[in-house]
C-alpha cells in the first residue's frame, strides 16, 4: 500500500487481497449502520439539527476573517499566542520553534488530523524531539509506522490481535505471560506506557474541533481523555488546527457537538467535550503555563474563494467515510491521502494537486450515501463532479474515454443514427451470444466481463418498435 494518491488503482488491488482489512471494514459498516439508526431514532429533531448545523457552519465561513481576528484577540487577552501559517512547512516550523523555546524534549500528542496533514511528527522527530501519540489508535499506528485510515477511528484497519501483537513487539517490559486477549487488557497496557509520557512531556499538542471567537476557547471532542491530559499536564500546550474551524459563539459549538458525536460514533455525546481557554491563571488548579494556537491555511483560503467552498463546512466526523461503499471495499489507506473517503476525495486534490489526486474524484459511484449522512449537508457527489470537470478540462483522464465521450455526444445529437448504431451493436451481441441470454466474454469489454456476464439486448429498439407497432 503506497501513501500516494497516484497509486490508487494499484492500492485497490492490494486492498482487495487483504482479508483482515476486508473483515474489519465489513464489521465497521455493519455496526455503524445499526448504531446510527438507533441514535437517530432517539432524536426526532435530528434532521432539523442538521439544517441548523449547516447554517452555523455557513455563517461561520461567511464571517471567517472576523471570527479569526476576534479569536486571536481573545487568545492573547487570555495569555496565549496565535501563529498564522500559510502551509505545512510554515506550520511545522512554527511548532518546532515553540518546542525549542520551551526547552522541550518530550512532546505528548493528542489526536489531530491537521498534524497529519502537515506531517508534524516527521518535522518534530527530525528536529530531535521525542514525540509520542497518546490516542490509543494513533499510538499503535505510531509504533507500527502507519498512518490513520479513518478520521475518527484511525486504526480501524487493525484487529484487536494486531494491537496486542504490536505491544508485544514494542513494549520490552511487557511480561510474556500477560494476556492481551481482552480489549481492556490492551487499553491498560497502553495506559501504563502513556502515563509515563504524560508525566515526562514538556509540550502537549492537540488538534481542535472548534475555535470560539467570543471567548478565545478551543474545543476538543474525544472519548479517551488523553487529549485533556495532553493539554493540561505539560507546561506548554500547542493547538494545531485549520483556519476553517473558527465559530462565533459557544452556543454554536454546542449545537455542532450534538450532531458531531451522533454522526461520528453513534454516541449521543462523546465522553469528553473540553473547552480550553488560554494559559493557566493564578487561581487555576491546573493547566499549561504557555498556550499557543497554530492556525494552518494550507489551501483553505483558496477553497473558500472557489466553487468547492462547501467542503469547508466539514466538521471531520468521518460519517461519510464510514458509510461509503467504496471506502468499505478498499479501506482508507488505498486513497494514499491523509483524508480518505468522500471528504478526502474532495479535499486531497486541493491539498496535493489534481494531477496526483485525479483518481480520487473518480472513485465514486455517486450513490450519495455520504451526502445523506453528512451532518452539515455537504453535497459531496456534486463537489466530486466539479473535480471531474476540472480534470476533464485539464485533459487528465484517459484519451480513450475522451474519444468515447466525443463519439457518444456526437451520436446522441442524431437520435435516428444513435438508435441505428445501438441496434447494430445489439445485433452483433446477439450473434455472438448465439441464443444465450448473456455473454461471458467479449473483446474490448474486459472491464465489464472480467467479473460480470454481459446481458444481451433483446433486439431492436424500444422507440423504433413503438412507432412501428403504433403506426406513427
Amino acid at each position: 500500500m503506497h501513501a500516494d494518491s497516484a497509486r490508487f488503482p494499484d492500492n485497490v488491488t492490494a486492498a482487495r487481497r487483504d482479508p483482515m482489512l476486508l473483515g474489519a471494514l465489513q464489521r465497521l459498516q455493519r455496526d455503524a449502520r445499526a448504531g446510527r439508526a438507533e441514535v437517530i431514532a432517539r432524536l426526532p429533531e435530528f434532521e432539523a439539527l442538521r439544517d441548523a448545523a449547516r447554517e452555523i457552519r455557513n455563517g461561520a465561513l461567511a464571517n471567517l476573517a472576523a471570527n479569526l481576528e476576534r479569536f486571536e484577540e481573545n487568545v492573547i487577552a487570555n495569555g496565549g499566542a496565535v501563529h498564522w501559517c500559510r502551509d505545512a512547512a510554515e506550520a511545522g516550523a512554527a511548532v518546532t520553534r515553540i518546542c525549542r523555546e520551551a526547552g522541550a524534549r518530550t512532546v505528548a500528542k493528542g489526536k489531530s488530523m491537521v498534524s497529519e496533514e502537515i506531517a508534524l511528527n516527521a518535522a518534530l522527530l527530525g528536529a530531535g524531539f521525542d514525540v509520542v501519540e497518546t490516542d490509543l489508535g494513533e499510538y499503535v499506528l505510531q509504533l507500527r509506522d502507519e498512518t490513520p485510515s479513518h478520521i475518527v477511528i484511525p486504526a480501524i484497519h487493525l484487529t484487536k490481535d494486531q494491537f496486542a501483537e504490536t505491544f508485544r513487539d514494542a513494549h520490552d517490559a511487557l511480561p510474556e505471560d500477560r494476556s492481551l486477549e481482552e480489549a481492556r487488557a490492551i487499553t491498560d497496557e497502553a495506559r501504563g506506557a502513556l502515563r509515563d509520557v504524560f508525566l515526562r512531556a514538556d509540550v502537549g499538542i492537540t488538534g481542535a474541533n472548534f475555535l470560539i471567537a467570543e471567548t478565545g476557547s478551543v474545543v476538543i471532542v474525544t472519548n479517551e481523555g488523553n487529549g485533556d491530559l495532553a493539554q493540561s499536564l505539560p507546561r506548554t500546550h500547542i493547538v494545531v488546527t485549520g483556519i476553517e474551524k473558527a465559530l462565533g459563539t459557544v452556543e454554536e459549538a454546542l449545537t455542532l457537538v450534538r450532531v458531531l458525536a451522533r454522526s461520528a460514533t453513534g454516541q449521543e455525546i462523546s465522553a469528553y467535550t473540553t473547552f480550553a481557554t488560554g494559559a493557566r491563571r493564578a487561581d487555576d488548579a491546573a493547566g499549561p503555563e504557555a498556550f499557543h494556537v497554530v492556525l494552518v491555511d494550507n489551501g483553505r483560503s483558496d477553497l473558500l474563494g472557489g466553487p468547492k467552498r462547501e467542503i469547508l463546512r466539514c466538521i471531520r466526523c468521518g460519517a461519510c467515510q464510514t458509510v461509503c461503499p467504496v471506502y468499505g471495499a478498499v479501506g482508507g489507506h488505498a486513497y494514499g491521502a491523509v483524508y480518505a473517503g468522500p471528504v478526502g476525495s474532495v479535499l486531497t486534490p486541493a491539498l496535493s494537486g489534481l494531477e496526483t489526486a485525479k483518481h480520487l474524484p473518480e472513485a465514486s459511484s455517486f450513490c450519495g450515501a455520504c451526502e445523506a449522512v453528512c451532518p452539515v449537508r455537504i453535497p459531496l457527489p456534486r463537489l466530486l463532479r466539479l473535480w471531474r470537470q476540472d480534470a476533464f478540462q485539464a485533459h487528465l483522464g484517459p484519451t480513450a474515454l475522451r474519444w468515447g465521450l466525443f463519439a457518444w455526444s456526437a451520436l446522441t445529437a442524431w437520435p435516428g443514427a444513435y438508435r441505428a448504431a445501438g441496434a447494430i451493436g445489439g445485433r452483433v451481441l446477439r450473434l455472438l451470444a448465439m441464443g444465450r441470454p448473456r455473454l461471458a466474454r467479449l473483446p474490448f469489454a474486459g472491464k465489464w466481463t472480467g467479473g460480470r456476464d454481459l446481458p444481451v439486448p433483446e433486439g431492436g429498439t424500444f422507440v423504433g418498435q413503438w412507432h412501428r407497432r403504433r403506426g406513427k
Binding site: V326, E362, C367, E371, W387, S409, T412, P455, V463
Partner: protein, 256 residues
C-alpha cells in the same frame, strides 16, 4: 383520474438509453402502466440520451448539449415520465443546474423539471394509481432501491405500495436495500474490482432473503446485478418493477 380519451392528459415518455437499446420490453411494460393509470403516452422519436455519461465524466459541455436537446423535445408535454430514477433525476435536478447560467434555457429547464417524474413515483403519487390485485404469483421478490431514485427523488415507499396493492408476490426485504450495487455508470468499468465487490455485498444480501427475483427501478443496476449473479452461478432472477407490475395488471397487450 381522467377517464375519457378526449381529456386524458399526455405523458411524454423518455425511454432511457438502456431500455431503448437493451430491454424494449421494459419500455412497453412502463407505457402500458401509464396508459392503465389513465394517460395518453407519446414517445418522441427525437429523444436520445439524458447526458449522464458526459455529466458524470466531467464533460459539462456535452451534458449541456444533451440537456438542451431533452428540454426542447419534452417541454411541450403535460407530464414527462422515465422508467429510471437516475435519468429522471437528470431532468429534475441536474438540467436546471447545467443550464443555470444560460438565460434562454434556465426557465425552460426548471419548468420541465417540475413536471418530470420517475415511473413508479408518477404512478403512485401523481396519478394516484394502484394496480388491481392479481392472483398471488408464485415465488418471492426482494427490492433494491437504486441510489438516484432513492436519494435524489425520494422513491422508497412508492414501489412497495404498488407491489403491496398488487397483492403478490411476497416481498422479502434484504439487509441494506438502500446500499449501492456498484453500478454507477462508467464507474463500473473504471473500477471493476470495487464495483464487483459492491455487487457481491448486494448479492449476498439478496441471496440471504431467499427471494427468487430481485426487482428494481433502474435498468443499469439490474443489468449489473444480473451480470454478477450470472457469473456467480446464482439462480436469482432480475426484473424491472415495470415488468412486475404490468404482468400482474391486466391484459398485457396495451403496447402491442
Amino acid at each position: 383520474m381522467p377517464s375519457d380519451t378526449e381529456t386524458r392528459a399526455t405523458v411524454g415518455f423518455f425511454a432511457t438509453c438502456l431500455v431503448d437499446l437493451f430491454r424494449p420490453s421494459v419500455g412497453f411494460a412502463a407505457a402500458r402502466l401509464i396508459e392503465r393509470a389513465g394517460y395518453r403516452v407519446v414517445v418522441p422519436r427525437a429523444q436520445s440520451c439524458c447526458g449522464q455519461p458526459g455529466y458524470n465524466s466531467g464533460d459539462r459541455d456535452a451534458a449541456r448539449r444533451a440537456a438542451r436537446r431533452a428540454v426542447a423535445v419534452f417541454e411541450g408535454f403535460e407530464h414527462v415520465v422515465a422508467p429510471s430514477g437516475s435519468c429522471a433525476a437528470m431532468f429534475v435536478h441536474h438540467f436546471p443546474d447545467l443550464l443555470s447560467d444560460d438565460a434562454g434555457w434556465e426557465g425552460r429547464a426548471r419548468a420541465l423539471a417540475g413536471k418530470t417524474c420517475e415511473l413508479v413515483d408518477f404512478l403512485a403519487r401523481v396519478a394516484g394509481w394502484r394496480p388491481e390485485a392479481a392472483p398471488p404469483a408464485a415465488g418471492s421478490i426482494t427490492y433494491h432501491d437504486s441510489c438516484a431514485g432513492l436519494r435524489e427523488l425520494g422513491i422508497r415507499e412508492q414501489p412497495r405500495a404498488l407491489i403491496a396493492a398488487a397483492g403478490a408476490p411476497e416481498l422479502r426485504e434484504m439487509e441494506g436495500p438502500d446500499i449501492c450495487c456498484g453500478f454507477g455508470g462508467t464507474f463500473c468499468v473504471k473500477y471493476p474490482a470495487i464495483s464487483e465487490a459492491m455487487a457481491d455485498k448486494k448479492i449476498d444480501a439478496i441471496e440471504a432473503t431467499g427471494a427468487d427475483t430481485v426487482v428494481g427501478g433502474d435498468l443499469g443496476c439490474l443489468l449489473h446485478i444480473e451480470g454478477r449473479l450470472s457469473r456467480r452461478g446464482s439462480a436469482v432472477g432480475t426484473s424491472h418493477v415495470a415488468e412486475l407490475l404490468a404482468a400482474g395488471s391486466g391484459d398485457g397487450m396495451g403496447g402491442d
